[in-house]
Point group: C2
Chain length 175, copies 2
Amino acid sequence: MRDGYERAAVRAIAADAGVDVAIVYYFFGSKEGLFTESVLAGPEHPLHQLATLLDEGTDQIGPRLVRRFLEHWDQGDVFEPLLALWRSADIQPLARKVLHDSLAGPLAERVAAEFGAADAELRVELVASQLAGLAFARYQLRIEPIASTSIDDLVAWLGPIVQRYLSDPSPHTVG
Amino acid sequence: MRDGYERAAVRAIAADAGVDVAIVYYFFGSKEGLFTESVLAGPEHPLHQLATLLDEGTDQIGPRLVRRFLEHWDQGDVFEPLLALWRSADIQPLARKVLHDSLAGPLAERVAAEFGAADAELRVELVASQLAGLAFARYQLRIEPIASTSIDDLVAWLGPIVQRYLSDPSPHTVG
DNA sequence: CGCAATGGTCAACGAGTGTTGAAGTATGCT
DNA sequence: AGCATACTTCAACACTCGTTGACCATTGCG
């Protein structure tokens, strides 16, 4: 998760875990097997949190989601599976499946039920891409000033945007 | 640019160029030298285009930027230095410097002069991260439905957002 | 006790990596 | 012509990578 798929060496992972390389292959078969079984088990995925937030009501859902997202990440609970999938985009079909099937899909159903939006899947993906871009700039690239801006300020900027993606009526296409 | 820094082999690059490996080292010194000299010379960078758009006036700058951004990318002019820096985030200090110094910095000055915004740098980075997240979802991950949504629809969604980032008054912090 | 299966270690294979040094060829200046 | 400089080639070094096969250790069952 820390280094991305290509950079991560099976030997190093095994060493960090305090075991021999061969037992990794004994249990997981291959490097890709290790990856899939590791990444499929993440329950505290950033996007997953949107579902729990919906349980607390839909009022001000945008700012609340942005705040929780940033707080978790700032705090350094490096549970960063998003950046992991980021850097591991070599396994594209796999990353795609994980992201879409286990997150966007079911989540979109909830959003649709809650807001009655027809294009719920697109809305969820727009939110996800906005948050992903933010996380990449702030936590991976660490460009300034976005890396040092306070959570409150970022919530003030992004909260209404996310709110809009989720709850506004669909825009009519121009062009 | 196609494979990212780690995956790209100097031998393969040299072979594609029809030359021996050693002449790459003769001219560029190292793999990193080749990378920097390659990436620093991109004048048609996605973000760079914001500057040319400002020359055509600031009216509806948000939708126009989103449209040009998507059209370039859909068209497959694979000038994708953004995704390259993406996947090459190993060279972090380098990627940071390239992105910030050569793009966000000067661009923010123009935005500040045009809109009179005090926090122009943050605004530019917010736009950049939104577009970057979109590009990643649509072109690299290719998750649906965002990958198949028409340019017109995406402009309708994202245009006002980008416009807001650039021209709206700064939000007052709540929290 | 003996035997099979599970869990674990070690060393190695083959392929691929960035990099370099020695040797070759051409080119242009004096 | 002679020589230095720029360019090009080839082969190798010193890794690291994913993966595997041959061995030991332990355990539990008959």
